[in-house]
Amino acid sequence: MKNSLLRLCAAGAVLLASLATAVAADSKLVVAMLPKSKGNAYFISCKAGADKAAKELGVQLLFDGPTDSNAAKQNEIVENWITLGVDVIAVAAENKEGISTALRKAQKQGINVITYDADALPDARAFFVNQATPEGIGQSLMDEAARLTGGEGEFAMIVGSLTAANQREWQKHVEARLKEKYPKMKLVVVRPCDDLKDKAQSEATAMLSANSNLKLIMAICSPGVPGTAEAVKQAGKAGKVKVMGLGLPNENRRYVKEGVTDSVILWNTGDLGYLTVYAGAALAKGELKKGAKTVKAGSLGTFQIAGDNILLGKPFIFNKGNIDQFDF
């Protein structure tokens, strides 16, 4: 008993000792970045941009998060970083209120806190790197629709639901842009798909048979775009009726490559990670202060700040030419 347990202790010590290395006094700025879940391809692509920024700036980047979207684990990771005394904590919040407790604690200890992708409560962070404003999304969608149709003709819209706040907001900005800039285009019908691909497909099929003049269908919920594409493809109208909307590259890749879907709009997640690290580092160095109007981010240039929101700017358009560079 005695010997075997002594051996156990020795083995444990060796195992642990091999994990530890001599700790050189690291004088680099440490930026700790917390995704909602670290296995999610969306956040992996954020990390790619963040890594690039960290390299350019010469800062150490910690990128850790729950393996699933777990709010409790997010708090534990932030508390871990607080006692490690990192310089910046950048968080994509899984739960607004829950994480804010931990973030306030970090601020009290002099750590610079920013959020990206999903905001915490405003008093728990200095800035939010906002990947897309409703206005920016609405304008990009409408501009792209106009570009695809040559600025004239009838088009239809598929929305997630007629009541969801973000959908209503985006739709409002699409319609405002339409009224303001594209008088020759006409929105003939708006239908909800309840965030279901099947429902989007049947709605789109009904639209196609009811309106022979239809030149484009815009879907502004992510299941809506592939659903619409499937309907257009099956109706044999690929290319004649354009398909575009808000969504993720992966779920639309097939239709984009087949030429059914023309454009998928979202933000560039790599740029989001890149900007977040630059903003975080600037905050820690005292270059970015409350009330600032702009912030510089390396090769991406200067970004606007509205209040305490750092704006990533115009959404990104994925099409046949560039979609293979993205995997999320």
Partner: protein, 351 residues
């Protein structure tokens, strides 16, 4: 058992006491702690000492251990009676949701909501007890059922999307502040630990749980009310799981249906690491506490090591090493017996 069981109490020779499972676990814990103290403490850019060797860190470890520690305390009597309760983690989630509802939707004051939640937790434990003792179903199967049932209920009640937040400061005090120098919830944890320790080691209940774990039929013939005693440990487990839910909610400031997912397995690991036999009959509350501490220090210490930080793999590494620690401890426990079987016997067996 072929060998003579040492008499309980203080009559064991000091050598045996120094080499008991609990003492060895204490040495491992101390070794872990010293290792992380030297390897996981650094001075950061601003010249502040950070990492494992700070008071803040030690308090964090204590704070993060309370919920799993409570579940491990709840499971110790259960496992000693040769049972198991897989539903405690799910019950933590369900209790958190019920507490949120009682406070937010039913508008009850916090103390009353806590009281009702504890009662509901005990009732849920009672459901396990009822199925196990009256229907004589195996605890593993019963609690596997309630494991899904309780979590499913929590998800159904909230439809997977409702999260209760905005709890008053006075409630969050229990989970996020300090009282008399220690994290507030640590006092609750210590009080429960003391109560369970007294129950298991200083009352006839404790002795009867061991007897039931060793030989339930024997215990029944000896006149013990086996059914009632077994029911008691499951009701107690339900009650403690509900208490853990309150502390969890206070620590995070939110009650959500996924609260405590997977905690039952961490708790079982701590209990078994602490020397309680999964077949029942033997084990101790202080062993469980050491098991909880050994896992918590390992997990938190790893997150302080520069190498692990650079790999961004604190969580994966802690899972891996916790598993390795448990397997090593189990192997070390069985090895001497296996070796002694292989050796030729020097003495003729007594007639």
């Amino acid at each position: 058992m072929s060998h003579v069981t040492p008499a309980p109490g203080n009559s064991r020779p000091w050598k045996a006491r120094l080499l008991s499972h609990e003492m060895l676990l204490l040495y491992v814990l101390l070794a872990e702690w010293l290792f992380f103290y030297f390897a996981g403490t650094t001075t950061n850019r601003r010249g502040v000492v950070v990492g494992f060797g700070t008071w803040d860190r030690q308090f964090d470890i204590l704070r993060h251990s309370c919920e799993i520690g409570l579940l491990a305390l709840a499971l110790t009597p259960v496992i000693i009676t040769a049972g198991i309760d897989l539903s405690v983690g799910s019950l933590l989630g369900l209790s958190a949701i019920l507490f949120g509802q009682l406070w937010h939707d039913a508008g009850l004051p916090i103390p009353l909501a806590i009281a009702f939640t504890l009662v509901l937790g005990a009732l849920a434990g009672g459901l396990n007890a009822l199925l196990i003792t009256t229907l004589r179903l195996p605890p593993l199967i019963v609690t596997l059922g309630t494991y899904s049932l309780f979590r499913g209920l929590a998800e159904a009640i909230t439809r997977g999307s409702v999260t209760y937040t905005d709890f008053p400061e006075s409630f969050l005090f229990f989970g996020q502040e300090r009282w008399l120098g220690l994290p507030t919830q640590a006092w609750i944890f210590f009080a429960v630990a003391a109560a369970v320790w007294l129950l298991m080691h200083r009352t006839t209940f404790g002795r009867s749980f061991r007897a039931i774990g060793l030989a339930p039929e024997g215990a029944r013939y000896a006149g013990l009310p086996v059914g009632r005693r077994v029911a008691l440990v499951y009701v107690l487990a339900g009650l403690i799981a509900a208490l853990a839910a309150i502390i969890y909610t206070a620590r995070l400031g939110q009650a959500k249906a996924d609260a405590g997912t997977g905690y039952e397995l961490f708790a079982i690991t701590a209990v078994v690491l602490g020397g309680t036999s999964i077949f029942g009959g033997t084990g101790s509350v202080h062993g469980t506490l050491l098991g909880v501490a050994a896992i918590a220090v390992l997990k938190n210490g790893l997150a302080c090591l520069p190498v692990v930080m650079r790999m961004n793999a604190a969580e994966e590494m802690s899972g891996l090493l916790t598993g390795a620690l448990l397997l090593l401890a189990l192997t070390a426990g069985v090895l001497p017996k296996m070796l002694s079987k292989l050796r030729p016997r020097r003495h003729a067996p007594a007639v």
